[in-house]
């Protein structure tokens, strides 16, 4: 979370992108000169399935206001089945976060292929707008990590 001079809230967003589809999709949106918000911090992972629930919680701890996981479309996983497992895990994790009263909008899973630079930019814009509307992450933050 950071607040600029005009006191408008600029969220910090972490995007876990799979190496084979979504990271390439982000690359494509860049080479196509498509803009997406600069407060999105991309972390490259070998597969969406690599993302441990702890990664997501740790991102919130270190000051993220929203976390999005992007991977290959179901059926297109480079490792054949990784994203299917990731989908089940993330569904359960998000449901648990909701159960603990954390805002539903702060987490999201999107499937973005290497050819979908446009979709990547659109997804990030809409996610950033949603997090900005939700405001700073207060319910899942570590006070010691606040800047």
């Amino acid at each position: 979370m950071q607040v600029n001079e005009n006191e408008t809230f600029v969220p910090t967003i972490v995007a876990f992108c799979c190496n084979w589809c979504s990271y390439a999709g982000a690359d494509l949106s860049g080479t196509n000169r498509l803009q997406y918000p600069s407060n999105i911090k991309i972390i490259r992972v070998p597969c969406s399935c690599r993302v441990n629930p702890m990664f997501i919680l740790r991102a919130f701890q270190r000051g993220a206001d929203g976390v999005i996981l992007c991977g290959c479309h179901p059926g297109d996983c480079h490792y054949t089945t990784g994203n299917y497992y990731a989908r089940r895990r993330m569904t359960l994790l998000f449901s648990m976060l909701d159960y603990l009263g954390i805002e539903r909008g702060r987490t999201r899973v999107e499937w973005v292929s290497a050819a979908e630079g446009q979709k990547f930019a659109e997804t990030m814009k809409s996610f950033a707008a949603e997090i900005a509307a939700l405001g700073p992450n207060r319910r899942l933050e570590d006070l010691r990590c606040r800047k």
Binding site: T91, G101, L143
Partner: protein, 325 residues
């Protein structure tokens, strides 16, 4: 029941079927019962107890015990212990050939805190009598309705049936309906996010990170736990702020999701009385609703929902859509 179990254990020790017995031993107080291993008939005679305070799940001890050489071990399993054992068996954590299982019926275990809350002090012993417990105390006998002092996990019991055993003492029971079991989770789900947040804040902030819930859990059987890793940043220390409390409990419940048999040991051992089973049950309920009914420890050929998938699984956005409905 206690005498039947003792006699059976002695007979099996005598004929050499087993070399030791795992059961329950009285502690300093009658309600302070701990699992224990007995090697001789004399020890059994002196220390073995089985009553409504014997709530501890002994299946986790069988990991270590079944790995030892020197004969089989006899274990008495209540239905919920048998589910836990069966799950460990499916995960290849116990050596079945080294264990001799006797299934014992369970009518629910008493919660000493609820007994004390009901105004009964100086407890010396407990006996079942129909719908009641007869509690002997230093002041004489007291009679309470079982329903008033049963542990919460027993009021929401999932099954009286043993999914695995070598022999049974007493009658085999049946599965019980799930709606009672999920009532607590369903009630929380109907609250608003703010109310849920406040509820869990007030519960989890009591956590002293004693790790008892992890240590007792029959599904938590990793040799090296993520919470013991000094690099995890959350190893063996008091949760410093709300984030760590949430993080520890989310991860703890997540790591046993799909393997938790809902035995309720986590809530039983919590010194702060945090209703931890409500987290585990949430995962069980979600799995049932999203991926089809699955019972860990059932061993009926259904695959663990977190190590399997179908192409038509719900997307993660189902969580948000459910909230809008």
């Amino acid at each position: 029941m206690q005498e039947m179990m003792k006699n059976r254990a002695k007979a099996l020790l005598a004929d050499g079927t087993v070399s030791r017995v795992i059961g329950w031993r009285r502690g300093e107080f009658s309600y302070d019962v701990t699992p224990a291993v007995f090697e001789t008939a004399e020890e059994l005679e002196r220390d073995f107890v089985f009553d409504a305070f014997c709530g501890a799940n002994v299946s986790k001890y069988l990991i270590r015990e079944s790995a030892k050489d020197g004969g089989r071990i006899l274990a008495f399993l209540k239905p919920c212990d048998a589910f836990s054992f069966n799950q460990l068996l499916a995960e290849h954590r116990v050596r079945r050939e080294n264990v001799y299982l006797i299934g014992i019926p369970c009518a629910g275990k008493a919660d000493i805190d609820r007994i004390k809350k009901a105004g009964i002090d100086g407890v010396l012993g407990i006996a079942e009598d129909g719908e009641d417990f007869v509690v002997s105390t230093v002041y004489g006998e007291e009679r309470v309705k079982q329903a008033d002092v049963l542990a919460e996990r027993c009021l929401a019991c999932k099954s009286k049936r043993h999914p695995v055993y070598d022999e049974l003492l007493g009658e085999e029971g049946e599965d019980l309906p799930d709606d009672v079991r999920f009532a607590g989770v369903a009630k929380l789900e109907t609250m608003t996010a703010e109310e849920r947040f406040d509820f869990w804040r007030s519960e989890l902030s009591k956590c002293i990170r004693c790790n008892a819930c992890r240590n007792v859990c029959p599904a938590c059987t990793c040799e090296n736990c993520v919470f013991d890793n000094p690099d995890s940043g959350i190893s063996q220390k008091t949760a410093a702020d709300p984030f760590e409390e949430n993080m520890y409990h989310i991860i703890r419940a997540f790591h046993v999701a799909g393997r938790c048999t809902d035995c309720g040991e986590c809530s039983r051992v919590c010194p702060e009385h945090i209703p931890l089973h409500l987290l585990n049950r949430k995962f069980i309920k979600d799995i049932d609703e999203l991926y089809g009914t699955y019972r860990a420890g059932e061993d009926d050929g259904t695959k663990n929902p977190l190590t399997s998938y179908t192409e038509g699984d719900a997307e993660a956005s189902v969580v948000r859509e459910r909230g809008r409905a």
